[in-house]
């Protein structure tokens, strides 16, 4: 057994566990994208970044690949982590703005702009499909090819692979090429509809008639609004103005 500190909390972990696994076990949420329990660790999406070590010598590491160490100090929600995470979402969004998973992440973590050129490549090279094919389906039909900005995932010679059994596992697990975000601003770079929908659907309709039912509901109707959300602030401001007047 190893003892380490996550967010000031003393936790115990087994030898060989990663920080992410320990955090999950203790109910601490760390967002992930390229991580899947049934597949090997990859550490490609950098969403699960955490800050380790003590001031002033801290560094960011991907928690899905970093093993838990004795008396390691981990913090999952420092300013540095949050900013790095936002940047990663922004970068991924610029590559695959049509992905619902990435749009949802953007909404969830408050990414409201994309400062990079929208590329619409619909692949963020997370490697989930490659690992799915090799590890779960025992296929090895697809893999990474080329290098640098030309890197891509494809079959050998870009033709139908003999090893492919058309199982569809790669499409099933892909976070970028699956279901499109169906939000009202889905065609823009950052949809943020789930974030900005205010008042929520429930304020409009007595009974829930979610128009995003088929597309995966956004969840704004049941989500608690953060303290001092835009609407409240504006309401308070206007009230104050009225009082002054």
């Amino acid at each position: 057994m190893i003892t380490l500190k996550i967010n000031g909390l003393e936790v115990r972990a087994e030898e060989g566990q990663t920080i992410l696994e320990v955090a999950k076990f203790y109910g601490l949420e760390i967002p992930t994208l390229c991580y899947n329990e049934g597949l090997s660790r990859y550490g490609g999406c950098r969403l699960c970044l955490v800050e380790i070590g003590e001031e002033p010598k801290t560094k960011l590491v991907s928690s899905c690949t970093y093993p838990a160490e004795e008396s390691l100090v981990v913090r999952t929600d420092t300013k540095r982590v949050i900013e790095a995470r936002k940047m990663m979402i922004e970068l991924m969004l610029s590559v695959a703005p049509n992905s619902k998973i990435i749009q949802d992440l953007a909404s969830k973590f408050g990414v409201k702009q994309v400062r990079f050129k929208i590329r619409n490549e619909e692949c963020i090279l997370c490697g989930l499909c490659v690992r799915m094919c090799a590890e779960q389906m025992d296929g090895r039909a697809i893999g990474f090819q080329n290098r640098g900005y030309k890197r891509k995932i494809s079959t050998p010679f870009d033709i139908r692979s003999e090893e492919c059994r058309l199982c569809g596992g790669c499409i099933y697990i892909c976070p970028a090429c699956q279901l499109r975000c169906q939000g009202p601003q889905a065609d823009t770079a950052v949809c943020n509809a789930c974030l900005t929908m205010d008042p929520t659907c429930l304020d409009f309709y007595d009974d829930l008639q979610c128009w995003m039912y088929d597309a995966g509901r956004c969840g704004t109707c049941v989500r608690e609004k953060p303290e001092g959300s835009n609407n409240k602030k504006q309401a308070q401001k206007s009230k104050r103005k009225e009082k002054k007047a």
Partner: protein, 155 residues
């Protein structure tokens, strides 16, 4: 093709059928054919019991390997910072115009392949053009024609 298969298998055998020798095997095949033929890669995959996709991952990762037939002579134009400043792109353009191909392509007669490189490490003699591992220093647009002629004459 059977004779070719034996040839490829001979290269593989040279490294006693070991997976770790993949790059050396590919290098030998590249030297023999001047590129990596699909069939050869399939044979390598079967003999070494390495998935074809992994072999392609290696073959496409390194610039030294080519999946398409290359020309007899390989022209590499340096576009590193120093060569860029001294007119590398213009020299590349001249080559493209003279050979009527884009960078990364092979001329129709199969004589020349044109490629670019980020830096060759000899910035002092830039702009540099390398033809078949022969370095040509301080190239100007005027010299492009004579370089091509020299290699055409050689044949």
């Amino acid at each position: 093709m059977e004779a070719e298969e034996l040839k490829v298998k001979k290269y593989i055998k040279k490294y006693s059928n070991e997976k770790k020798a993949l790059i050396s095997i590919l290098q030998d095949i590249q030297e023999e054919y001047n590129y990596l033929p699909q069939e050869a890669l399939r044979i390598v995959s079967k003999t070494l019991a390495v998935p074809l996709i992994d072999i392609l991952g290696v073959a496409t990762f390194y610039r030294a390997f080519s999946l398409e037939p290359r020309g007899k002579h390989l022209i590499t134009v340096c576009l590193g910072t120093a060569c860029h400043v001294r007119g590398g792109p213009k020299i590349l353009e001249e080559f493209e115009r003279k050979l009527n191909i884009e960078a990364g392509e092979t001329s129709k007669d199969g004589q020349f392949s044109l490629e670019t490189v980020a830096c060759l490490g000899c910035c002092a003699i830039g702009p540099v053009v390398v033809v078949d591992s022969e370095y040509h220093a301080q190239i100007t647009i005027r010299k492009v024609g004579s370089i091509l002629k020299k290699y055409i004459k050689k044949d």
